[in-house]
C-alpha cells in the first residue's frame, strides 16, 4: 500500500499521571475496556503480520513446491534460489535500482524543497504539481512512462520527428539499461513526497544558526552546505529509510513498464517472489525470496524505528 513517514509524537510525561486515570479500582478492571477494545486489532496484526511472516519463513525452509509440503529441507530453497540466474539478475537490479533511486530522489527532492523555500510566488500550485504523482498508482505511472520512454512512440520518436535524426533514448528496450528507465519513473513518482519532508525540515531549522553563519560572511550556498543541510540530517534519515523500504517492495512499476523484460532483465526480488509463487509453482523458493526481502527491510527499518522512538522519548 502507500507509505507514510514514521513520526511518533511524544507522549506527555507519565509521572504527572495525567495520562492515566481510574485509580482506586482494581488494576485489571480499570484497564479491561481498553484491552478489549484493542484486542481485535492486536490479534489481527499478530496473525496477519507476525504469524504470516513466520509462516513464510517456515515455507522457505520446507519442501513446498506447488502445494505446501511440511517436510523441512533446511536452506535448500535459498541455495537453489542463489543458483538461479533470474534471482541473481533480480538481486543485482535491486542494488542498482535502490542506490540510484534513493540518491537521485533525495537530490531532486532536496532541490525542489530548497527552491520552494526561496519565498517563491505560486508555492501552493507548484507543490500540487510536484506531489500529484505520489497520489497516482504505480501501474498508471508505469503505463505513462512505458510509452514515453519507448523509442518508437515517446521522447526518441518526438525528437527525431522534430529534426534531431540521431537522437537516441532507448534505455527501456535494452537489457543493460532497462533498470535506469525504471529509476526515472520511480523518481518522478516519489520526489515530490521527499520534497515535502525536506521542506518541513528546512522550515524548522534554527534561525540563530543561519544568522550566525551569515554574519560570519558565509554566502547562501556555503550556508546551505555547511549549516542548513547538516541541520536537517534527521529528514535525510527518514526519507532515506522510507525510500529504501519502498525500493525493496517495488513491484507494480516493473510489471506495468516492462513486465520484467527484455527477457527478465528488469526483474526485481519482488517480481521473482510473485513469479515463483503464482506462475512457476515454486512456493519454497518464493518464500525464500520473500524472507530475503523481509530481512533487508528489517536491517534498514528496525534501527530507524528505535531511533524514532528514542527521539520521541527525548522530547
Amino acid at each position: 500500500m502507500s507509505q507514510s513517514s514514521l513520526r511518533v509524537e511524544p507522549a506527555p510525561h507519565p509521572r504527572g499521571g495525567a495520562g492515566r486515570f481510574g485509580r482506586g479500582r482494581s488494576g485489571l478492571g480499570r484497564h479491561a475496556p481498553a484491552w478489549l477494545a484493542i484486542s481485535p486489532s492486536l490479534l489481527a496484526i499478530l496473525i496477519f503480520v507476525y504469524g504470516f511472516a513466520l509462516w513464510t519463513a517456515y515455507v522457505s525452509l520446507s519442501a513446498s513446491r506447488m502445494v505446501p509440503d511440511f517436510a523441512l529441507v533446511g536452506l535448500r530453497n535459498y541455495e537453489r534460489m542463489w543458483g538461479q540466474d533470474r534471482w541473481l539478475v533480480a538481486a543485482g537490479n535491486l542494488v542498482t535500482f535502490t542506490a540510484l533511486y534513493v540518491v537521485v530522489t533525495l537530490a531532486v527532492g532536496l532541490l525542489i524543497a530548497i527552491l520552494l523555500d526561496q519565498k517563491v510566488r505560486g508555492e501552493t500550485p507548484l507543490r500540487t504539481i510536484f506531489l500529484y504523482p505520489a497520489a497516482v498508482s504505480l501501474i498508471v505511472t508505469g503505463i505513462a512512462w512505458k510509452w514515453l520512454l519507448n523509442p518508437g512512440t515517446g521522447v526518441e520518436a518526438f525528437m527525431r520527428s522534430a529534426g534531431w535524426e540521431g537522437f537516441a533514448f532507448d534505455w527501456i528496450i535494452r537489457s543493460e539499461t532497462v533498470i535506469y528507465a525504471i529509476v526515472v519513473a520511480a523518481v518522478w513518482q516519489q520526489a515530490g513526497f521527499v520534497s515535502v519532508l525536506f521542506l518541513a525540515a528546512l522550515r524548522g531549522v534554527d534561525g540563530e544558526m543561519v544568522k550566525a553563519a551569515r554574519l560570519d560572511g558565509a554566502g547562501p550556498i556555503r550556508t546551505y552546505w555547511s549549516v542548513i543541510i547538516p541541520a536537517i540530517r534527521p529528514a535525510f534519515i527518514s526519507a532515506g529509510v522510507l525510500l529504501v523500504a519502498f525500493a525493496l517492495k517495488t513491484f507494480d512499476l516493473v510489471v506495468a513498464m516492462t513486465a520484467q523484460g527484455p527477457g527478465y532483465a528488469s526483474a526485481l526480488p519482488s517480481t521473482f517472489v510473485y513469479d515463483m509463487a503464482f506462475q512457476r509453482n515454486q512456493l519454497g523458493m518464493a518464500a525464500a525470496g520473500a524472507i530475503s526481502i523481509l530481512v533487508f527491510a528489517a536491517i534498514i527499518v528496525l534501527p530507524y524505528v528505535v531511533w524514532e522512538f528514542r527521539k520521541s522519548d527525548a522530547r
Partner: protein
C-alpha cells in the same frame, strides 16, 4: 520566532538574475512533473491513426472522446468486453468499507493506547506500528492460503479483510499521534463523571477527530485504490480491482497498440485519487507525514 530570524528569509535568493534562474529551474522541474499527465490527456483525446503517424507526444489535430468511451464500457479485458466500468465498481465496493473500517479501528486503537496507558501499551504500539514497514511479499503466500481456506479467495470480501488489516498500522499511528495532543484532563473529568470507555470515545473523542479521520480516510482510500500486489494475487476475472484490470487491459491487447485507449483507461483508473488529491490534498500530505498536524 521573530521575522528577522526566519532562516529562509536570510538565505533566500534576492538578486533579480538569481530569482529569474530560480523560476526557470522551477519551471523546468514543473514541466518534467506535468509532462506525463499532459501526454496522457492529449493522447487519450486523439484518434489512433493520428498517433500512429505522429507518435504520442504532440498537439492533437482532431479531438475525440471515443477512446474514453471505449475504455469505460467497451474495451476487452481477457474475454469480457465491458471496459473498466465493472472493475471500477469493484474497487469502490472494496475501498470504501475497508477505508472506513480501518479508520474506525485505528481511532479506537489510538484512543486506547494514549488515554488508557495500560501496562504493555507501549509494546503493543511498537508491534502495531512496525507493520507500516512490512514488505507485503513476506505475507503473500500465507495470505493466499488463508483466504482460500476461509473461502474468500477471489472475492471482494477477502480483499476488504486484507486491506483493513494491513491498513491498521497506519491508521493506528495517525490517531495515536493525534490523540497524544488531546489533553487527558478532558477524558479524566468525563471519567470522574461516570462516563465509561465507549461513551468517552463516542461523545468526546469522535467529535474532535474529524481532521485526523480525514487524513486516515484519504490515505487509506488512495492506498487501497492504487494497490496492485494483493489485487493481482488474490483476484481474477470478474472480481478484479480497477488497477489490476487496467494492467490487464494494457498488457493483453492483441493486434495494434491502442495508445489512446491505454491512456484513457489509465486516466479513468487514476481519476478518483486525482480528484481526492485536488480537493483534499492537504489531508493527503498529512497522511504522508504520519498525520502530523504541523506537516
Amino acid at each position: 520566532m521573530p521575522a528577522d530570524l526566519n532562516p529562509s528569509e536570510m538565505v533566500a535568493a534576492r538578486r533579480p538574475a538569481t530569482r529569474a534562474m530560480l523560476y526557470v529551474v522551477l519551471g523546468i522541474l514543473g514541466l518534467f512533473f506535468l509532462a506525463p499527465l499532459a501526454v496522457m490527456v492529449l493522447t487519450s483525446l486523439r484518434p489512433i491513426e493520428e498517433i500512429r503517424s505522429a507518435g504520442i507526444i504532440g498537439i492533437p489535430q482532431t479531438l475525440t472522446l471515443d477512446a474514453w468511451r471505449a475504455a469505460w464500457s467497451q474495451a476487452c479485458i481477457a474475454a469480457v468486453c465491458e471496459g473498466l466500468q465493472p472493475y471500477f465498481r469493484n474497487s469502490l465496493v472494496i475501498a470504501i468499507p475497508a477505508t472506513l473500517l480501518s479508520t474506525l479501528l485505528g481511532a479506537i486503537n489510538g484512543y486506547a493506547l494514549t488515554k488508557f496507558r495500560f501496562p504493555g501499551a507501549d509494546a503493543i504500539m511498537v508491534l502495531i506500528i512496525l507493520g507500516c514497514f512490512l514488505p507485503l511479499q513476506a505475507v503473500l503466500i500465507p495470505a493466499a492460503q488463508t483466504l482460500s481456506a476461509l473461502g474468500l479467495a477471489n472475492s471482494i470480501y477477502g480483499l476488504i479483510l486484507i486491506y483493513t488489516v494491513y491498513g491498521l498500522p497506519f491508521t493506528t499511528l495517525f490517531f495515536r499521534n493525534y490523540y497524544v495532543g488531546v489533553p487527558s484532563e478532558i477524558v479524566r473529568a468525563a471519567h470522574m463523571d461516570g462516563a465509561g470507555f465507549w461513551r468517552i470515545f463516542f461523545q468526546i473523542m469522535v467529535p474532535i477527530s474529524w481532521p485526523i479521520a480525514m487524513v486516515s480516510v484519504v490515505f487509506q482510500f488512495t492506498g487501497i485504490w492504487n494497490e496492485f500486489l494483493f489485487g493481482v494475487s488474490f483476484t481474477t476475472g470478474a472480481s478484479q480491482t480497477v488497477t489490476v484490470a487496467l494492467n490487464n487491459l494494457v498488457n493483453t491487447t492483441f493486434g495494434v497498440k491502442q495508445y489512446n485507449l491505454d491512456m484513457a483507461a489509465s486516466l479513468i483508473a487514476a481519476l478518483p485519487v486525482l480528484i481526492v488529491y485536488l480537493f483534499v490534498g492537504r489531508f493527503f500530505v498529512r497522511g504522508l507525514t504520519a498525520g502530523s498536524i504541523k506537516g
